[in-house]
Symmetry: C2
Subunit: 324 residues, 2 copies
């Protein structure tokens, strides 16, 4: 037990010094489902908590094919060259970091991965979305303790994970392609109202006029939506990872956002609210999991459900019987 | 106890005969929070379950000012004249049935209320949305047992209640006004993907050309969305409650929907699925309520939450302590 204490303290120190292999080791501990590892992971995280929170947390989403991978590669590399330390995390197993690239994009952020200022970590492959979500949050905190200034969290804008990501980041960026109408097809409805910024990607070569038109269309739609962050008017911008254009403008937008929202003091308010909601949702997850994982309860639910579906008892009677 | 049994049986008989005062009495019983009344309500409902399910359940939503009240008045009256028995329920306290009419519309379905074939019931005013939702569901079942062919459930398309309503109806109708862009402003995002049909309302007088244009715009948007009901292509139609136009077409659309979806057998599948989800969500509500209503647990959560927000313990540690 004593020995473990020492290890955790040592590991915490190394993470704070930014030792890359130690950070990886720490994340592996966080992702482990082994009971002893879990305890160690929590001690480690408690040790590092005072050193967290000093990054800007950016969520990045888009339909498959929007070019998230190449955007993060180009955008992250630019930030690294500016001297920023950039950590890239992915929230769902299907996002490009973990190899779910659909349109044959094989880059996987090779350039960024080799950059000394960058740290690229694929998503934990196992577990429920809720579980992955929890681990990505804690991994984000580890990266902050390791001194990363910018955390990019990648997700695919088709499932439920964007809501989770919106609940853990400061700025939420949506990547789209030209042709607003077509875009809507594969995109989860309601996702635009989560976005603080929209990048019309692949705005290069012959595509530039179309991209400009699409930017205008999105600006028009944004005009009608409630702001994703109170006090911030969400913006749409064109960018190209191929021609490296619009990347600086995207970063300027994010810096402007940070300045505006910190001045309004909503920055800290939102972060505290996010932590509170994280706690609440983990309590609810625990309640639901422990109830539905109870074998007896499961059987009882099934039996009552059948009686309800046959019209023998009412739904309310079913619930009353279950908890009597 | 014996006496009560008899009363319930008598009341059930009267509800089935369509005695209006008995139906009102039965609904009041369902809405009561008195423990004894609750038990009686469930016995009554169990008694009537075999006679439920024979209506078409239609949810109607729209932004305030879309004219839901006058549409339901005109549409419901038309159905009554066709010999249908029509019940109108409201799901949220802010909807027009309960007097939440914003634009000075004072009609409150006076004509419909007086119609022998109609039954208009305002929403239960108290309780959480979840509670109201449950009561509206059970009220709907009572109305079916009383022989109503068409149940219209009104809700306001700005809050969370449309998702609840979508979960209890066969057909979901969205009322909008001309000018698709302006409409979006007050409307909950994602609501369009719930709709099986869209009525561009107040398509009368000088407004007709604009309404036709708006119909085309909505048809275009619908084209890009996933269908709200598998196997049904959602449609947009113009209508006027003032000039009584488009109402027959709206009903024809709903009948066509019923025919199509019954043929695909998804009709019954969805209803069973809705009942199953209702049961599941009531179990989850019960778990959450009984946990957070426990005074000791509440205090413990507050204490742990403060420690988490101060950065003294991790969220995971907080959850572990709470359930250890």
């Amino acid at each position: 037990k004593k020995q473990q204490q020492v290890d955790i303290q040592k590991l915490a120190g190394e993470v704070r010094e930014g030792v890359r292999t130690s950070l990886s080791k720490a994340i592996t501990l966080i992702e482990s489902s082994n009971t002893e590892h879990k305890e160690q992971a929590q001690s480690l995280l408690q040790e590092l908590l005072p050193y967290t929170g000093n990054s800007i947390r950016i969520g990045i989403t888009g339909v498959p094919g929007a070019g998230k991978s190449s955007f993060i590669e180009a955008f992250g590399s630019m930030l690294c060259h500016m001297g920023k330390k950039v950590a890239v995390l992915a929230i769902d197993p299907s996002s490009s970091l973990s190899g779910g690239s659909i349109l044959g994009d094989k880059t996987r952020m090779e350039e960024l991965s080799r950059n000394q200022n960058a740290f690229v970590r694929p998503s934990p492959s196992a577990g429920t979305l809720g579980g992955v979500h929890k681990k990505t949050r804690e991994t984000m905190l580890l990266c902050e303790a390791a001194g990363f200034d910018v955390i990019l969290i990648e997700t695919v804008g088709v499932g439920q994970s964007e809501t989770f990501v919106r609940g853990m980041v400061d700025f939420f960026l949506l990547l789209v392609l030209t042709g607003a109408g077509d875009e809507l097809q594969g995109m989860k409805k309601g996702i635009m109202e989560l976005a603080d910024g929209i990048i019309v990607h692949k705005s290069d070569g012959d595509n530039i006029p179309k991209a400009r038109k699409t930017v205008r269309e999105y600006m028009q739609i944004l005009h009608f939506l409630q702001p994703a962050t109170p006090g911030w008017m969400s913006q749409a911008l064109p960018a190209s990872s191929l021609e490296k254009t619009g990347l600086q403008e995207a970063w300027d937008m994010i810096c402007q956002f940070e300045k505006t929202i910190k001045e309004s003091s909503y920055w800290e308010t939102r972060r505290l609210e996010q932590t509170r909601e994280w706690f609440q949702s983990m309590i609810v997850d625990h309640l639901i999991d422990s109830f539905f994982n109870d074998r007896d309860k499961k059987t009882q639910v099934k039996t009552l459900e059948n009686a309800i579906l046959k019209g023998e008892i009412t739904v309310t009677q079913g619930v009353l019987k279950l908890f009597s």
